[in-house]
């Protein structure tokens, strides 16, 4: 299986702080991979470097075969993202915001695509309302619609269901799963919701203090740590309770 995202020796230092330390991993085409770790483990920093909005201190990033540090504009039209750390203009309506980004991504028929997404994500009730007047759940759906406008081949999702109630969170996961089934998109997901990870992800990359400490499928990790859930595995990794050395996948062995 080929890698839609290939990261080699990626590092980021902010003065004395080493936020990401020589991270290496692959995200295989058409899979959903989770980037897990406690707050400050380096998830958002890694995603920001993958998106090209943060310059790495060292390392290489290839997305869809393109070197992101040299040719990110070749691949940006083929990828998209959602993040709680960015917003959309609050005084513009939902449809205006989507129209602006439809033009930025060069959609041939923006009205048709916005209509499709409004159907799929149930946006019709608030398309004409200013984005700033929406609830957290509605904003998250709009952000997802923005992220799906260009039908991305690679989708980076930073805590996509944070602050959502269980109902909206579940619908969001269903939308993402349906989108992936329909398009064979590659998704990299940073999340603190372990149920979400177990449900959606075929592969999990565990980060601690900026380093990859383990990688595998949720079932493999649960078995390797002798636990019953990913929540317990997460706590083991976050608290450094790796009593026995985990068996690293061969591509991570130095």
């Amino acid at each position: 299986m080929d890698a839609a995202i290939a990261v080699r020796g990626l590092a980021k230092r902010f003065r004395e702080v080493e936020a990401v330390r020589g991270v290496t991993f692959n995200v295989h085409t058409g899979t959903t991979t989770a980037l897990l770790g406690a707050n400050g483990a380096g998830k958002t920093t890694t995603l920001s470097m993958l998106l090209g909005v943060l310059t790495p201190s060292a390392g290489e990033i290839f997305v869809l075969g393109q070197d992101m540090l040299k040719h990110r504009h070749r691949v940006l039209p083929r990828m998209n993202f959602t993040s709680p750390y960015v917003d959309l203009p609050k005084r513009l309506t939902v449809s205006e915001n989507l129209r602006v980004f439809a033009d930025l991504y060069g959609l041939r028929a923006p009205g048709k695509r916005i209509g499709e997404l409004a159907d799929e994500l149930d946006l019709h009730g608030f398309l004409k309302r200013p984005y700033g007047e929406l609830s957290a759940g509605q904003r998250t759906r709009v952000s997802l619609a923005k992220a799906l406008l260009n039908r991305p081949e690679v989708l980076l999702l930073d805590e996509p269901t944070a602050s959502l109630d269980p109902d909206i969170g579940d619908r969001m996961r269903t939308w993402l799963e349906e989108y992936q089934r329909a398009t064979h998109c590659t998704m990299l997901l940073a999340s603190h919701n372990m149920n979400e990870v177990e449900r959606m992800c075929q592969d999990v990359i565990m980060l601690r203090a900026g380093s990859v400490v383990d990688q595998g499928s949720p079932i493999e990790l649960i078995g390797r740590y002798g636990r019953e859930t990913m929540e317990e595995v997460f706590l083991d990794v976050a608290r450094g309770r790796t009593n026995e050395a985990p068996v690293l996948p061969t591509e991570l062995v130095p």
């Binding site: 909005v53 310059t55 504009h73 940006l76 033009d103 060069g106 260009n150 039908r151």
Partner: protein, 280 residues
Amino acid sequence: MKADVRPMLLYPQSGPAASVRRVRALLRRHAYLLLKSWPRIVSMTYYPTVTMVLWALLTVYLAPTNNFLQSAPGFFIGAVLLWDVLFRGQLGVSLTFVEELYSRNLGNLFVSPLRFHEWIAGQLAMSVLRTAIGVGGACLFAFVLFHYSIFSLGFPLIAFFVNLLVFGWAIGLAVSAMILRWGLGAEELAWAAIFLFAPVSGVYYPIAVLPAPFQAIAWLLPSAYVFEGMRAVLLEHVFKYNLFFPAVALNVVYIAVGVWLFRAALGYARRHGMLMSIGE
């Protein structure tokens, strides 16, 4: 694997047509904001108009006893309107940028296919629109209230307008760079920076009245050549090319410096992770 439907979904992403589409998207974003808020449009015209009225009334008061104003009655009004071209040109760039910071939208924009030169083009195009609304409104009031037409300057008006607008862009880009570098704490610069240039631009008086060191500074600014040129047109009825060409040459340098500063600030923001976090 499913068939790739994106070529049918998206236009080609490179070439001039793609650039025009993306610049148009930036304009659309700000036009939506501007056109739905009449207080915004009024406030853009309000300050230039009030300033123009003050100078016009001063002219009305002084003209009967002042030979200079009798020979050039539109002097102060023309000066204040042209000064506002510089001011609005700079504000148009800086405030358009600050809007994106308020919206915490930079991350979305710089992860989209938008290129650096398209971003700059969008900022400058918005500056033209804001200047046209702001100064255009004041010009209209000047004509209605005081029967003064800025077009009485004739063809040189275009030369003055373009030179001041470009200098305003250069200052606006430099101010945006500082705001990007130091965050919204430096936002006040968007409003205040331009006034540093006012005393040495010779808007209402010849550069010759400045103390010698300030004269040396003034001749480094395109605005000084423009306002000297304006006085030559009004008082001597001549367009002085020896004032026009230095202004153009200096503007080429300043706009290049402005673009370079913004690019450097963007590089700093990328290195320090500010594009995702900067905002209110």
